[in-house]
Symmetry: D2
Subunit: 325 residues, 4 copies
């Protein structure tokens, strides 16, 4: 990982309305991987930027005017610094790019860009939430129709967003269908409550399998992390009024597509861009009430960061990869 | 129960788009009680009306044009005959009043006013759903904001609507607070998943207890079956954006009230009037996916109908009272 | 137009819940054009089908059981026979394909698939509404966020759907930007209230012009009739939370596209498939209250039907082409 | 007005993220009246508080960190300091009580609690908006179902909220029914576009008149400023799915009421508590696009403030009373 280098910098000090956090754990997202290999935004990211958006730790100092937190509180930062609440109405910069991120011992953040860790979660578990968790929550519960008991949710793959979406969907009383190229990952998903797993190697036309498993009704929600490369099959997978939450482009940025199936079914496609501090807190209440434990596939030590990124790039994980700081 | 008499009538025949149902179980609702004691609509109900809105059974014949059901299907009738889907836009007559109801061996209903029983439910369990179930579902999931994981729901009492609301709220990932005058009923509610029970005899100011249990946040939803007599405390129980679903007036029709707490909190009060066939089917999917078993307190034989009504009137039940036909 | 032939058939008779309508005017839609030239559904449409979905006339007879209409009522048929209300939950057949359509002297329709003509509209004006009007209404007021005063709406082109959408958007208090290849059509649109017209020949990168006209805010709603060929620019035209209503594919069925702009903006794409009887009635109230007059470009006589279709195919119209029957 | 006294205080200085505004006009609201006569919150308001929530003026200085405004900008303050966006989730203090208000030459406000005046409005017109305007907007367009073209809106009385609601409802394409005890005020309302006026002295059972004027359909929205004293008739005035926005208690705080009509109609009651900065800006866009001019009944000089309050208390106005500072 030549894109990474270790650097010493002066510890940040909390300014007005800022809290200083001692980072204890961080987690990896696809965007971090792209940044480190120099492919994010066409490689335009400064090589001096501290990477990673997701981190959890404890408050070790508070700046003037802070009212929401005190020293000793266990917290995570939010992805955007700061989108407080309501629908997104302006660009806010994100941790990791363009702002310095969480792969550091200390970070100073505005208190409105910080949330308390739900009781019962470790720092490692909490570190999985800022990007993947809030994205999954927003996709299922905020944008377009919300998941309700009895709905069917289709999760593509078993990465961080998809596995958290599976957990949130189960908490909301839905039935879950999940896809993977690995039968053992499908088994893990079933243990988390997924009713059905589809191996997309065995079933390259997995949309037909989705229709079969739903008796031709189609699903109500798709957590679409693949982008246009999978979107055509997602359009075929939904039922009347089905919603596709467009989250990523893991399977490639470009491709033909014919979105007309949306017209026959009154379906919709919603772009998801993580979420607000208020959504994060709402999600944390759901995690607490339902006793949800985010799935940490493996915890690497800080010195193993390059190896952690390699495992991430290879897709050798289920849920989230975490680094203890 | 002098309001009741047994009568022989010719068996109904299914007309165009009707199915003929052999009733196997019926359940009691407050409205049925009011009808039988002659107090519904000021006593204006014809004494020849067959009472009860809720019944489950099997299809024994289908009329011309029927496409949704076939002989042998296990079904329940819907409360309104017929409100198919969408928001309520016109008056539709209900079973039991003014239409002949379900306390009979056979009933012929339009196929759009009939739904399939979810797999796994007995006739007795299914008979609890048409009025109380659809009302609870509509209150929590259709009108105003829908319950989502992490929300807090307050259920007043342990009658049919409240206990089904408790079960739906748990399926939706919410925390539940329930009230009763009986500690043993509160225990039963806790076994169904309620996090907190409040005995309103011990705590006549139960709204303060609700605020205490929610750390001053208030609840997100109230299932209000008491009417104006309890509404003042429901207004005090909600938090910001809280929703009160107004379902009944078990505690009395009249009273002073000051709804201004709604203004401080951006809260809302929604009148619930059972629901549509589409809502019923949606609820049934939730029941199936979440393995919900409606609580049947006791099953009476057809001949014991007067006794069943007496027990109902006395409030000696938790969930629903059912009569096998 | 070799796809058309004149035929004599027995006059239909109104059956149960049907009304018999003497058709007085019909209007043309893109789908009708595709049917007549044998390209709809890959040419699979029976050549014996009476074409056209949209027609207006008067009730000349009512079948048994009819309660909503009486002889002499001025009515239009609905596109689907029958989608009564609520969101779309099942396929209902449409007039023109696969059902016999409105290019006839008489048609018998279920009363739930018929709506009253708003006071003040001629048969010719009313005939423009079933497909194009309900589609525009659904796109703006039903699916996703509804247009509200102060919003900005982008209408692509000046065909039937776009011009009705312009009129509905103005009635709803919105600002309208409309595109065309013809400056004279843009002038007509401005006379109907459009604030801005963009000639997409002069501005092939019309999305940039949209951003300029909105001071970089982007629009809140796009009435997307072009399909994937224009969708890439529609994605660029919206602002935060912007909604694109996907209605047609006039500019071609296939193409590359990258929907990721939706992610940055929290935008959404909604498939529109005309709408229900209830939406039609809702739209008619809006037409009545706001004195909206649908734009009839030209009325052809029944014998001129082939010429009407040729003018339609050539795009020589603004709003709608109507045929008097 | 012994409750008022003139005082000299040091001019405020803009601190971090504050702008200093030279107030040019203020408007009166019912709450201000209650404060001045010492009856607000049981008289608990400090007599040193500068009253009034609503003011407009120009920015004369900006504090450190300010990005949204510059010297010379024409602005109004928001009612709450500060509720930025999204639904209300916490208490924010309001201008006038408990914070010092706008009846002053200068006020320093956080930039997030300030909005630009729409082009074309005078300071006097802009001063009508912070409380009454945002309240009317929230009541019609934010809480519960939003007004859409063809809806019918009932406005009670001709005070600031009701007249602005009338204007917003017309901009949204709705039909408006308005009530008053004065035929000349009803005439003024008709000139602003109200279709129907009801004199509630002539028609004390004005709900019946509402039903008559709507052919028994009832209205879709009620702007309820009277409180429980009028609420019983508001419940009778709505149609299916009708929404009552509870805004005030001008007609008295207490009274019997039976909200059960909500159950028959699937109606709802929503508490309105002004609104956020984002809602204010949204409303301002609607004002600009639709050329709305708030109705200023009369402008008093600063020295005439006691007389302005007396006229307000006597109800001798239509729309808003303004004081030039």
């Amino acid at each position: 990982m030549e894109g990474l280098r270790r650097a010493e910098r002066p510890d940040p000090q909390p300014e007005w309305h800022q809290v200083l956090i001692r980072i204890r754990a961080v987690s990896l997202n696809y965007r971090d991987h792209m940044v480190v290999i120099g492919q994010y935004m066409g490689g335009a990211v400064s090589r001096d930027t501290i990477p990673l958006s997701d981190g959890a730790g404890e408050v070790v100092a508070v700046g003037p005017g802070v009212t929401r937190f005190k020293v000793g509180d266990r917290v995570t930062g939010t992805f955007f610094q700061v989108w407080v609440e309501g629908p997104r109405t302006k660009f806010a910069p994100a941790l990791g790019v363009p702002l310095d991120g969480t792969l550091a011992e200390y970070i100073a953040l505005n208190e409105d860009g910080v949330v308390a860790i739900p009781p019962g979660l470790s720092f490692e578990e909490a570190a999985t939430l800022p990007c993947a968790g809030v994205t999954a929550w927003s996709a299922l519960m905020v944008l377009g129709r919300a998941v309700k008991p009895g709905d069917t949710v289709l999760c593509l793959g078993t990465g961080g967003v998809s596995v958290l979406a599976l957990q949130f969907a189960k908490a909301a009383g839905a039935k879950v269908i999940i896809t993977s190229s690995s039968d053992s990952k499908l088994d893990r998903a079933r243990k988390l409550g997924a009713e059905f797993g589809i191996n997309y190697n065995t079933h390259p036309d997995w949309d037909k399998e989705v229709q079969r498993l739903t008796n031709g009704r189609g699903v109500d929600h798709v957590v679409e992390v693949g982008g246009v490369a999978t979107l055509a099959r997602s359009y075929q997978s939904i039922g009347f009024g089905g919603k596709i939450a467009l989250i990523g482009f893991l399977a490639g940025m470009k491709g033909q597509q014919e979105p007309y199936a949306l017209m026959m079914k009154g379906g919709s496609l919603h772009g998801v861009g993580v979420g607000s501090t208020a959504m994060f807190e709402e999600m944390n209440r759901a995690i607490e009430v339902n006793g949800i434990k985010p799935v940490v596939d493996r915890v690497f030590a800080f010195d193993e960061t390059p190896e952690a990124l390699r495992q991430f790039a290879a897709g050798n994980f289920f849920g989230k990869i975490v680094i203890a700081v």
